[in-house]
């Protein structure tokens, strides 16, 4: 790392001790803008090159999520310790009229120093507002108890983890240490939101429901980069169905239903497909299928029971992390379903899925 990174687009460079004063001046200089904030939104990366991209992401996110954004990039490999800061505001016209702005403070921390991340976060929060923390990449040793105790919501993307087993282990430990107080949000889980909604929607059909105990095959097709999303979706199907995974090899498993019927489960990978490209569930005389073409904004949904077919179209989840974050922020909630599914998911992961 330690290459010179571009900081253009981060706004005005400021002394760390003068951030509050400079922000005040920023707002006083523009009487036409309204400063809106519903939360503290922190984005942390250990790849300094992401700083500019994260600023662009905040520009998009603040269209619908007013916040104080704090971007922190840590260059842990730099030999010399330093701390640089910038401030700016992202403004959007609300309904074509009023200019609504969200302030952003960016930090570039160089050199390794335990506790500096935590202290930088503590020092620049807007009081009384919730703290949403988007941790990008694997959980490092800086993901420590005195930091995560402070968080209201932790966002991460398990698709970006180099060592998912280790990071999931760290996450579970953190939740145990905090007695489950952190709301966790895995973007790989969010990627399957509309798939899950579609499955539920199609099984609202009473005839499809009757076929549910007779399900004998489940197939998921996904992009290989989104293995976590596919496994999470599969874990949800298994957990909700009350199935027991009997055996597995590679991307194939055998499960048994509560009635003792065998179910074959397959994961397929396709480099040219959407992150989650297809989920199909079959029983004699019944087929539920949800699919998505690459980059298409909709899910095709169909349920066929005893020759009667219903085709539907529904929304698909965003492909971009910022789109997923935005939809998650707009939904809120404690995300308890994810936590419910997590043990089964980790089981599949450990089995080599």
């Amino acid at each position: 790392m330690s290459d010179v990174i571009s900081t253009e687009g981060l706004g005005m460079p400021v002394e760390v001790g003068a951030i509050d004063g400079e922000l005040k001046k920023l707002w006083e200089a523009d009487e036409a803008s309204t400063n809106a904030s519903l939360m503290n939104f922190l984005v942390y990366t250990e790849d300094p090159k992401q700083l500019i991209k994260n600023s662009e992401t905040i520009q998009k996110l603040t269209r619908a999520n007013s916040c104080r954004a704090v971007l922190i990039a840590m260059d842990r490999e730099a030999k010399k310790s330093s701390l640089q800061a910038w401030i700016t505001a992202h403004c959007h016209l609300a309904h074509g009229k009023k200019s609504i702005c969200a302030e952003q403070i960016s930090f570039l921390l160089s050199g390794y120093s335990m506790g500096r991340l935590r202290n930088t976060v503590f020092a620049h929060l807007n009081s009384d507002l919730p703290l949403v923390f988007w941790w990008q990449g694997d959980f490092s040793d800086l993901f420590e108890e005195r930091l995560y105790r402070l968080l209201d919501r932790l966002i991460f993307d398990s698709a970006s983890w180099r060592d998912p087993k280790a990071s999931f282990r760290r996450l579970v430990e953190a939740r145990e240490e905090t007695k489950g107080e952190i709301v966790t949000q895995d973007l790989s889980w969010t990627r399957s939101y509309f798939y899950r909604l579609a499955v539920a929607r199609l099984f609202d059909d009473p005839k499809a429901q009757k076929s549910f105990p007779k399900l004998e095959e489940v197939k998921i097709k996904a992009h290989p980069d989104h293995r976590m999303a596919a496994l999470l979706l599969l874990s949800w199907v298994i957990t909700r169905s009350g199935w027991k995974v009997e055996s597995g090899q590679g991307d194939e498993w055998t499960a048994s239903s509560e009635e003792g019927n065998p179910i074959t489960i397959n994961l397929e990978w396709d480099e040219d497909a959407a992150p989650l490209a297809e989920l199909s569930m079959s029983a004699p005389g019944c087929k539920v299928r949800i699919s998505r073409e690459k980059e298409n904004l909709h899910l095709c949904q169909s349920v066929c029971v005893d020759g009667h077919c219903v085709d539907l179209s529904g929304p698909a989840d965003s492909d971009d992390p910022e789109g997923l974050v935005a939809s998650q922020l707009s939904r809120g909630g404690k995300n308890s379903l994810y936590l419910h599914v997590l043990p089964r998911f980790r089981e599949l992961l450990e089995m080599g899925g």
Partner: protein, 513 residues
């Protein structure tokens, strides 16, 4: 059996697949509100699989012609824009059924067609009838639905249901509302009857209960000890454009807006905390408020507490506009009010002595609906004992439309070496804080009806109690020898002087919007 995939997925009652039959399908409401609402639900993935939409109207249209007209309008008005892929899926489930509302055979054919659709689609036969026709056809539609066997849950259906949504106006007097309720309840069960008031589907109206009962700071102060008075204002800048004078001149502001929307808002503000959030839990408390309204039933009481008015020619946004009696389809000798202001008293322990001032008017300076809670002044010591006292009392404002939000006015010291105070406003705007657009009221309400959740719909006793209150005033206006006179005001102003005097005699003024 239940759907295992639904568990923990969404925190609302489950909308079930059904056939939605819209009476008055060629009308404005269907094109501008109902179909765009169903389209947005489909686009958001909220519309249950297997929903079929059947428009019922008199004109001789084909399925195709009906769909084309709906698509054209949806492109113009849909909240989320128009996506061809979503529309195609939805359009495939839209059908048109031609019949006169009085034609029994048309309903028999409707029943056959619904059965055929259910067979084709393998659906179990849930039906949601939406009566969006002109009110004079309500009776015919309901009675013919009954005769065709469409109004009751089918004995052969496995847990299937038949529900009806009835649009406003739900009656024009207490007697007509009671008659309509008799017809409705003779046709559908009360639990399957959904009297729609789209104000209750608005985000801020739903937020009133959250504001009151999910925030510890407000409820302890929400009573006569701390609140001086409450104002509910519904201002419209429009007059009788688009031929609406024909309907409006028969109804008037009191019947058209106060009986339903504004009394519903009043009841949400004044109700006691419900024991639970079930439909009847909430509606039990709302109806107690309406029932506790002090009745204005003599000419003296009406003169003292109610002001009616008509606008004269004037100017709005730089445009000359005619007076009410010169409007299109309005009787030049009309005695119908286009403005009304009332002092309402809710005779409960909580609200004893606290007036609720309610006003509604056409051709006012701007469009705005809001509720303002005016708190009592601080005791006459410290700052309040100084010359001039404090500049203004605290006011909590709940803006229903447009620019939905909540603001709180409080007093603050002006910077400087002297002690001077000015009111400041803490302001929360939905649009600024939550950039995503709220669903249209009809989206929420249609979904609720499909889910069997009647919380945001009016119950029979609520409607009748509201009419009882309104009827007393209407009777004095129209049947008494010494009814109070009609006040006048120039279009574009904030209503007649008499309405200002209604508050002035209590030592109060209308809030400036």
């Amino acid at each position: 059996m239940s759907n295992p995939f639904r568990e923990d997925l969404v925190s609302r009652n489950l909308a079930e697949a059904c056939s939605v039959v819209i009476f008055g399908a060629t009308g404005d409401l269907t094109h501008r509100k109902l179909i765009p609402a169903l389209y947005n639900l489909a686009g958001d993935g909220e519309l249950p699989a297997g929903v079929q939409i059947l428009g019922f109207a008199r004109r001789d249209w084909s399925d195709e012609f009906f769909r084309e007209g709906l698509e054209k309008q949806n492109r113009k008005v849909s909240r989320t824009g128009h996506d061809d892929e979503i529309w195609e899926c939805l359009a495939a489930s839209i059908h048109y059924h031609q019949s006169e509302f009085q034609d029994e055979d048309g309903y028999r054919r409707l029943a056959e067609r619904l059965d055929e659709i259910d067979r084709e689609r393998g659906e179990k036969g849930n039906r949601l009838f939406y009566i969006a026709s002109a009110p004079e056809f309500f009776d015919d539609i309901l009675l013919n639905l009954k005769k065709a066997g469409l109004s009751q849950d089918r004995p052969d259906g496995e847990g299937c249901w038949s529900r009806v949504i009835v649009e406003k106006p739900f009656g024009t007097t207490l007697a007509t509302a009671q008659h309509l309720n008799e017809v409705v309840n003779g046709t559908f069960q009360e639990k399957d009857t959904y009297r729609i008031d789209h104000y209750l589907g608005k985000e801020t109206a739903q937020n009133i209960m959250v504001l009151r009962f999910a925030n510890a700071i407000f409820e302890p102060m929400w009573n006569k000890e701390h609140i001086d008075h409450i104002q509910i204002t519904c201002a419209e800048h429009l007059g009788m454009e688009g031929g609406r004078g024909g309907y409006y001149d028969k109804a008037g502001a009191l019947r058209d807006m106060v009986q339903n929307h504004l009394l519903q808002l009043l009841s949400l503000v004044a109700m006691e905390p419900p024991t639970d959030l079930t439909a009847d839990g909430v509606r039990d408390e709302k109806v107690k408020v309406i029932r506790s309204l002090r009745q204005w039933d003599t000419p003296e009481l009406v003169a003292e507490n109610v002001i009616r008015g008509q606008y004269l020619a004037g100017n709005i946004n730089g445009e000359e506009v005619p007076g009410y009696c010169a409007e299109d389809r309005v009787n030049p000798e009309s005695e119908t009010e286009a403005y009304v202001a009332l002092r309402c008293m809710v005779d409960t322990w909580r609200w004893s002595g606290v007036p609720f001032y309610v006003r509604m008017g056409k051709r006012l300076p701007k469009k705005a609906t809001e509720i303002s809670i005016h708190f009592k002044e601080t005791p006459s010591v410290l700052f309040n004992a100084m010359p001039g006292g404090v500049p203004a009392g605290n006011v909590l404002v709940i803006r229903i439309q447009p620019d939905e939000g909540i603001s709180l006015r409080m007093n603050s010291k002006l910077p400087g070496t002297t002690l001077r105070m000015e009111p400041v406003k803490m302001d929360f705007h939905y649009a600024s804080s939550f950039g995503t657009s709220s669903p249209e009221a009809y989206e929420r309400l249609l979904l609720d009806a499909m889910a069997g959740d009647a919380t945001l719909f009016a119950r029979r006793d609520e409607v009748e109690e509201a009419w009882r209150f309104i009827d007393n005033i209407e009777n004095v206006w129209h049947e008494s020898d010494n009814s109070p006179p009609m006040a006048e005001f120039p279009a574009g102003s904030w209503g007649p002087r008499e309405a200002d005097e209604l508050l002035a005699k209590d030592g109060r003024t209308w809030r400036r919007l």
